[in-house]
Symmetry: C2
Subunit: 496 residues, 2 copies
């Protein structure tokens, strides 16, 4: 959108601002502006028309008042074509608003319709639609207040995540999405291929010893990468290689899970922020995660007030207070053993209230448990650390203390969402790591390069992963993660 | 890396800085520091040892001088274990350096080896390796001067791209990577699937009318997304949907090409920056691309001086002068017709010098032509605009003038690289767009949502795509794009 000053047909220079910049003004000098955007509402009276124009830069848009005495004939004709959703260019001086809703408005002298929007066909013609319905129109839903506000907040969150890590000297590494060595949780991987899988008989087959085709086994050496390739589930292992050279790094990119899951908390394609720090223990990772979250949430509180107020009004009454509290209060830190103890005490009072009343050392906490800890027990963001070995990944560092039963892992639980961050100190000792891989039936040959980091100048290092769409969901007070991303991907849905 | 002040065994508080912060100091107060990093070189003399430690934050690292009179017995023992590549923690006061290479050094009193690095096994033990060899060690190559410098410059470029768009009010949109509707150039797409394609006979087959399996046709409705899905080649179409609501947006994410190409300019997985602006013509897109490139290159000139000097010294003598010129000079803008004319005139002088001497209206310019225009004819970044319809994509806007033969498309050609940016004004007129799709045999049903943007409040809009790895290659003076990304993906290579 060209926002610079532009000479129009009139000799006077006209400013072409984004609405947000105009809306923030407390006063106006009466200078003419040119507003370009989409009509949200139009009201006509006997001698006046009110056209609310939104250009996506803010929630409220700007009111354009057309007095029939002040507009040319062409504009009068154009007014008949103005409908919700059409695009317009409106010209006129910016004046103090008469109504209470906004501080300034455009005393329009000229309006032109740029692109019509036939009301009978436009799927967003009516004002209110359910979020479910809007998902079927993911290409148009950013034209609604809710999804436009989510898009703005999401963008500010992403921008401030980059700003936080850049200003603290972290190197941004874009780890690969296509990988042949992603062996973790093979069942949940998407396969990437250039083989013609639409025609079963066209697939190349592995030869038998006497040079004939096998009946069935597809020869993946003929695929694009010369072997089976998948979409990554995490950038962590690649991130560790760069942390072992650059010190502090972060990734921020897409990750994939081919889980057949239709929950409000999962997507097949989502984004992770994964910092990795050399010479850092689990405490450093918790400290960094807390600082980072406070920084980005404060950024949004400072820069997206209008959007957050909207979410607070229509979706989640306590939203702004909760975000302010997150920024102001130190996060609670408790061990997994303590978490289990607190849960057992609480559940003992009335087990029937719980969907999963069986909780003991070794239990993988469910969302019910996580939310009770964050929402009821502490009413705060809570780090739970030192998880049982048995429920955590092979690369997490064995605790030297704690009876050898736990690893230096942590999850951050947040009111309203549950788990938002998961992290750990990584096992940097080669022998211990090899033992752990053996225990979990992993083949060291698949991880030769990962093990090299422990062979050559190994350092204690830690990192964590933040589910970005969960953060967006949390900060916007949304219930379903499918609202947090432009075009959500889940089983059966890859449209647009 | 924990860089805060930390109380050590001694009562005095010790600063744990990144080397870059220390190296930049002109003077020192003699306070003790704790340096954590990897040893690049070690030199021992009779009563002294010099250990150069690098922590990834800068190129030069820091020299630690150990005088045998000042160090404890343990440190003396540790020195025997110090080899190139091992990780160490070094403690001592920061003092003015005696040598000319650096301003400050550590007068080390204590050194501990954190992780050994056996010299006989370490693949980077020797000082110089070819870039080709280093690609086989992509997990270790960020420990080399060259690739660490590329990583730092790349990170600064990425950070400043976000900073540029965020400060100018663009909304960051992460468009999906998995798509079922990416119909452009189907031959170059990666397919994404959860079908068990390793076993040909396990693939579900489409049923015939009488309910039997066909012999061959795989039933993609049983795949994860209920239809064939692919990795995207561009975020543009999704970006247009958000620009048609938010005004100015940008994407910055991975894109994929399954081209069987082994050139120095192509990757199977790379990153694109794709801004899209509503109410904007081709001139606006060129203006924005020029401003953005100048902003990010200036950012790197200001913030990565040491790394650029290194590239200038070892890879590309004219690098810094060329980057400074890019920032200082207005980009040249010429029409495609003029480009052809200039080329024809030049080629006529001596056709034998050219690999592709046949150039006429309709010719898709080759890298040879592009580089001659940017390097020889203009010695400048050059926008070439108004390309023939026949060689450009269906979504580019027909020129109203120019005899109906051209579209509002542009490419930015840059000395040393050739095409760096490609953009266009998009066809916003529904009927014209439908005609163009018909001409190119595209099925409008596949693009129903894209066409909706032209049905409902359509606006003139423009955008461009910047190949991010090409920018990194250009700014770092590298010859091969495989150096510009952490783990390059190309045919046969998806290791790490």
């Amino acid at each position: 959108m060209s926002t610079s000053a532009s000479a129009s047909a009139s000799t006077k220079s006209i400013i072409i601002p984004r609405v947000k910049a105009v809306d923030a003004k407390e006063s106006t000098d009466g200078n003419p502006v040119l507003i370009k955007g989409w009509v949200r509402t139009i009201r006509k009276q006997k001698t006046l028309a009110f056209v609310e124009v939104n250009d996506g830069s803010n929630m409220n848009g700007i009111q354009c008042v057309l007095s029939f005495d002040d507009i040319d004939e062409e504009t009068k004709k154009e007014l008949a074509r103005v409908t919700t959703g059409c695009s317009v260019v409106v010209e006129g001086p910016l004046v103090k608003s008469q109504g209470g809703k906004q501080t300034v408005e455009v005393a329009a002298t000229k309006l032109r319709v740029v692109g019509e929007c036939p009301g009978d066909a436009y799927p967003l013609a009516k004002k209110r639609h359910s979020l479910e319905y809007l998902r079927t129109l993911a290409h148009l839903r950013p034209r609604t207040n809710t999804i436009a506000a989510v898009a703005r907040v999401r963008s500010q969150l992403a921008g401030s995540i980059h700003a936080f890590f850049q200003k603290t000297g972290f190197v941004y590494v874009q780890t690969p999405l296509i990988t042949a060595s992603d062996c973790e949780g093979a069942g949940e991987l998407f396969r990437v291929t250039t083989l013609d899988i639409d025609n079963a008989s066209s697939l190349p087959l592995v030869k038998t010893e006497d040079g004939k085709d096998t009946t069935d086994i597809v020869d993946s050496s003929q695929d694009f990468f010369g072997k089976p390739a998948y979409l990554t589930v995490s950038g962590q292992l690649g991130g560790e290689t760069y942390a072992s050279a650059m010190g502090d790094i972060y990734t921020f990119g897409p990750t994939f899970r081919a889980e057949n899951s239709q929950t409000t908390r999962h997507l097949a394609e989502f984004h992770m922020v994964e910092p990795e720090m050399a010479f850092a223990d689990l405490d450093s990772a918790m400290e960094n995660a807390e600082q980072m979250l406070k920084f980005v949430v404060k950024h949004v509180l400072d820069n997206c007030q209008e959007d957050l107020t909207f979410f607070g009004k229509f979706y989640d009454k306590g939203l702004i207070a909760r975000l302010e509290k997150l920024v102001a209060q130190p996060f609670v830190r408790i061990s997994y053993r303590d978490a289990i103890k607190y849960l057992q005490e609480e559940i003992a009072k009335d087990p029937s209230k719980w969907q999963f009343p069986e909780v003991e050392f070794g239990t993988d906490l469910s969302t019910e448990h996580e939310r009770w800890l964050a929402e009821t027990k502490f009413d705060s963001a809570v780090f739970v650390y030192n998880y049982p070995k048995s429920i955590k990944a092979f690369y997490m560092r064995d605790n030297d203390e704690d009876g050898g039963e736990t690893v230096n892992a942590m999850d951050l639980l947040v009111p309203g969402v549950g788990e938002l961050v998961g992290g750990s100190q990584r096992e940097e000792r080669l022998d211990t790591l090899l033992d752990k891989m053996k225990e979990q039936d992993l083949d060291p040959d698949d991880y030769w390069w990962y093990l090299d980091l422990r062979r050559f100048g190994s350092v204690p290092h830690s990192g964590y992963g933040l589910g970005f769409e969960r953060l967006v969901t949390y900060v916007c007070g949304m219930e379903n993660i499918r609202e947090a991303i432009a075009f959500p991907r889940y089983p059966g849905h890859a449209e647009f």
